[in-house]
């Protein structure tokens, strides 16, 4: 992370610990952070990955996003947002059109809803599929009706 970006981030998001490899960002800062990074030249939308973390005090979800600057050195920024039992997060579609399919995939497989997504339907599985396979409580051999 170069100095100018670090300054900009520190000014805008004082609560975020910038020394971590993967920044931990509150859900409210998710979209503003992406917008700021896009302004700073991090225009390559790399990926979004959601994961399910069951714990003793209930389900938690993590949504990680990676952006990259397409220049020499290929600096990238990855941050994650921790969500509660009813996971929903602002969609990055207005900033990055690539978020359309990527966020749909995470919605499909992990079940994180993205607010403001133009077409929030399943991407990989059929529309009548029950459950989200990448959740930890979804057994691989779970019976389905109809079986597919």
């Amino acid at each position: 992370m170069d100095a100018t970006l670090r300054e900009a981030l520190a000014a805008r998001f004082p609560a975020v610990d910038l020394d971590q490899d993967v920044l931990l960002v509150p859900a409210a800062d998710h979209y503003p952070l992406a917008a700021l990074l896009k302004e700073q030249g991090y225009t390559l939308y790399v990926t979004v990955a959601a994961s399910h973390h069951p714990g003793p005090e209930g389900d938690a979800f993590e949504v990680a996003t990676v952006l990259r600057r397409p220049v020499r050195g290929a600096p990238s920024v990855a941050w994650r947002v921790v969500l509660g039992a009813d996971p929903h997060l602002q969609s990055l579609y207005p900033l990055f059109p690539g978020a359309d399919l990527q966020e749909r995939e995470q919605l499909d497989l992990v079940g994180v809803r993205f607010d403001g997504h133009p077409n929030p339907v399943r991407l990989m599985l059929s529309e009548d599929w029950v459950g989200h396979p990448l959740r930890k409580d979804y057994a691989p051999n779970m019976p389905h009706a109809p079986w597919r």
Binding site: D21, V22, T43, L44, Y45, V46, T47, A49, S51, H52, E62, A64, V66, P70, V71, R72, G73, A74, S76, A78, R80, L95, F96, P97, G98, D100, L101, Q102, E105, L109, P118, N119, R122, L123, M124, L125, S126, P133, L134, Y138, P140
Partner: protein, 395 residues
Amino acid sequence: MDPIFQPFRDDPHYPLDRYEAAADLMLLNMGPQHPSTHGVFRLKLVLDGEIIVKAVPYMGYLHRGVEKMVEGLTFAQMTPIFNKHDYVSPMTNEQAYAVAVETALGIEVPRRARYIRTILAEIQRIASHLLWLSTFTLDMGGVIGGGAAMMMYNFREREDIFDLFEAVTGSRFHYNTHCIGGQRHDLPEGWVQRVRAFLDRQERAFDEYLRLIRNDIFDLRTKGVGVMSADLALGLGITGPNLRASGVDFDMRRDAPFHAYDEVEVRVAVAQGCDAYARYEVRMAEMRESVRILRLLLDQLPEGPICGSKPVKMANAVRVPDGRGYTAIEGPRGEIGTWLIGGGEDKGAKPFRLKIRPPSLHAMAAMSYLLPGHTVSDVVVVLGSLDPIMGEVDR
């Protein structure tokens, strides 16, 4: 192009009922069973005559649930799984996985192993681009036409590459030659000379390909078709040759070196055309560049061990602690990334969550932006020029 299609090119979710040019629209399902969808893929086209108003991609027909499956596998069991995502370039997919785990564990890969990986990756890049060239021309020229001739010529060289890989790994297609911390197989005796001979043949073959396909029809079919601006490409997360064809001078091999790319000079091919022809130009230049890089790599191939200095004695002993990180390498189709969260079952012997970032899925997203305003014939050209592999899109 008629400006009436511009709203659909800007936003694929633009409502169809605002299209007023014609009363009658026809809905055409291209796929899932269609000879030119590069696998099992469905494209819902809304047509005004032969002109596409709206294109909606549907995928998931090849979904195998790999990301769920690997949560139950140990790290040693995963290499053969990884070379089946993008079944056209298995070698680089294995490498993406190996690099991810090595980065997570902080394992240093010995210099010779890094060289071998680079050599294999570059040969794989040629093989993958050859298959792209053959399917691209197949789409334009047909199975009973000039495209098929091009395919057979490409497969002549692709067979050579399979022979080379077989000599190293014992397998022609799904290699399983990367292990965490190094290579499983060293290069056999005389293999370097065989590669050199192959490179000479391949260089002559490039000129042959050009004589076969370069004519006015090729230019007519590709120029100005599927124009993707650099902003759109970056926003969609398109990487690799498709991004470079949109004029973005970015290649992970040069700009974020992995393997042994920091020890050779990589000349990045960039084209400014943004269209299907530019994507053709970039890939052809990349194949020639790969030949050049391979010669350099073979010249300076070091001796030494091929497995880690901090060896992983038993494969089952690989344990990735709790933590998360994103690693990526440049495959033939672009950035193959892995988002790895360690500390899964069995004290970290299995990953908690492993997300594969497929370059082809990002390329597929471009379809609905590029197609409106083009004709049905251009669908296959645009799709072919983006070079998606459905196994990787769906995983």
